[in-house]
């Protein structure tokens, strides 16, 4: 194994930007309790408000709409809990609508809610993983409280038409949530333009710290606290402020906003370079997801007759780190539920590999993969029962 590590698993998590590491390290000493009145507390509070502005600027919302959470998983759970509570309290709108390809933090929340008798519909997607507006419309009605559709998929990169969906959702008087976790820093994201009511994101997906995320909540939309306790975040989310990580996500947001255009180009360039290289050098491959509406940097490929985990481990031996199916499914033998939900053949769904690029990847990385990958696939196919 080379000493060189080619990290192509940026949709799972990213390396923190040097600027973020620097800021977090400095903030480790801002240890005051941001809820306290004394000097240390005030320093922490000021640092937090700065971060709130940085995040708000990135996603185009008001700073007062930013609620810091422990990550996108908590943010997603929080949104569903709001409407669970409204339904418990007797709301006539007692139905939640989402899709079959959401992140597990929504899929599993839905499973739980259904098992407890709540009405949740999961709208199917087309072959490319896209929500069809006409299909979605058939699920919408006066009984719908919340619609939740992710901005871009973590596995295939497929982007949903959030602005159009939101119009349909608001037309029936329901509220709209989008999990924008994978889109941040890769495509322009705007609470205001899209007019969504709730948006989730997670720091470590865009070179910020882990364990910190945001639920953006538009003014005057329903809210119910998920983690009850102290008065932090205006009573919306309890828990002593995680000042260093909040400072970190703020700096990451500022970088993401500044670099958006160049980053987006960079990621798309590497992704396309790899896609073309694979298609040209390896016979019989299937590129998954929507190729027109796709997050830059995500390339999901199925290699029929070669199994995903084997490919992953061979690549790992060559110092290339990728993911099979969704990162969360790793360690399990389940085929990708995202691909299955998109109507992809079960065999293809088993053998998918996700390459996901980040800021620190280079053309050399792609060249290295294009040198190592074809013989691996060839070898596995020769071994395979076909």
């Amino acid at each position: 194994m080379d000493n060189q590590i080619i990290y192509l698993d940026n949709n799972a998590t990213t390396r923190m930007a040097d600027e973020v590491i620097q800021a977090v390290s400095e903030a480790l000493v801002i240890y005051g309790n941001a809820s306290s009145m004394h000097g240390f507390g005030r320093d922490a509070a000021a640092a937090i408000e700065q971060a709130r502005h940085q995040v708000a600027s990135l996603i185009d919302c008001d700073p007062s709409e930013v609620v810091f959470t422990s990550g996108a998983s908590e943010a997603n759970n929080t949104v569903f809990n709001i409407f669970r509570d409204k339904i418990d309290l007797g709301s006539k709108r007692n139905r939640i609508v989402t899709t079959t390809i959401e992140h597990p933090s929504i899929i599993e929340t839905v499973k739980f809610l259904k098992s407890r008798g709540y009405l949740v519909d999961e709208v199917p997607v087309d072959k490319t993983g896209r929500v069809d507006l006409a299909t979605l419309k058939t699920y919408l009605g006066e009984d719908v409280a919340l619609v939740s559709v992710m901005t871009g998929n973590n596995e295939t990169g497929t982007i949903q038409p959030i602005e159009e969906i939101t119009k349909l959702v608001h037309a029936v008087g329901a509220y709209m949530h989008t999990d924008a976790t994978q889109a941040i820093g890769k495509i322009p994201v705007s609470m205001k333009d899209w007019d969504v009511d709730y948006m989730s994101l997670s720091g470590h997906k865009f070179y910020g710290p882990k364990g910190i995320g945001v639920l953006a909540v538009k003014k005057k939309v329903p809210f119910e606290t998920f983690i009850h306790g102290g008065h932090q975040e205006g009573g919306k989310r309890a828990g002593t402020y995680n000042t260093p990580s909040i400072v970190g996500i703020g700096v990451a947001a500022e970088l993401a906003e500044k670099n958006l255009e160049s980053e987006s180009k960079h990621l798309w360039h590497l992704r396309e370079m790899l896609r073309l290289g694979i298609v040209q050098t390896i016979p019989n491959v299937v590129v998954n997801g929507n190729q027109e509406h796709c997050l830059p940097g995500t390339l999901d490929v199925s290699f029929p007759s070669a199994e995903g985990e084997s490919i992953l481990l061979y690549l790992d031996l060559d110092g290339i780190e990728v993911s099979t199916g969704s990162a969360c499914a790793s360690g399990s033998l389940e085929p990708s539920y995202v691909l299955l939900a998109s109507g992809v053949d079960i065999e293809l769904a088993h053998g998918s590999i996700r390459f996901s690029f980040g800021h620190y990847n280079t053309e050399d990385d792609v060249k290295y993969v294009l040198q190592k990958l074809p013989p691996i696939i060839k070898r596995l196919r020769e071994l395979s029962t076909r």
């Binding site: 000493v29 801002i30 005030r42 000021a46 640092a47």
Partner: protein, 160 residues
């Protein structure tokens, strides 16, 4: 870290009045008050007492005591500076807004602390007029402010 250093919780004027409160009523001082007013209670967490001297219906001098937070101390101190030299009528019409403005602002949740100061002042004027056996010409024109801070709403403030 230095980027954030360190505005104090309240404005510099609040800080100054908190650190050096003006016209406080020292125990060893022989202040012959013409009127004394008191509002709030220790149980509420804030209590204020204001004593005034009146010459030709002008407040010629004023002393105060407060059990309360920094905003309450600063507000009362500022009130005392504003009130001295005012006619009784001007003083009676002093609003919490005038006090907070003079202080360079108070956080929203501290607004009631400034309400207490001018209420105590009015109570002192009431007391003065009563002791003099005079009619109170101001009372009718001014809506009553309720003591409990929690009941001090914007509308009630505007009614002043």
């Amino acid at each position: 870290m230095n980027n954030f250093m360190s505005q104090w919780v309240y404005t510099p004027i609040v800080k100054d009045h908190f650190m050096n409160p003006r016209n406080t009523w020292r125990e060893d001082e022989h202040f012959e008050a013409d009127g004394v007013g008191e509002v709030g209670s220790l149980a509420c967490g804030d209590q204020m007492r204001v004593a005034i001297k009146v010459k030709d219906d002008v407040i010629s001098d004023l002393r105060w005591l407060t059990y309360g937070c920094a905003s309450a101390i600063a507000s009362t101190s500022m009130m005392s500076e504003l009130a001295i030299g005012m006619t009784l009528e001007e003083a009676y019409r002093m609003t919490p807004d005038m006090i907070t403005t003079a202080l360079g602002g108070l956080p929203d949740h501290k607004f009631h602390c400034s309400v207490l100061g001018d209420k105590a002042l009015r109570a002192a004027i009431d007391d003065f007029l009563e002791k003099q056996g005079r009619d109170n010409p101001f009372k009718k024109t001014i809506a009553k402010v309720i003591c409990e801070c929690k009941n001090v709403t914007d509308i009630k403030i505007e009614e002043l």
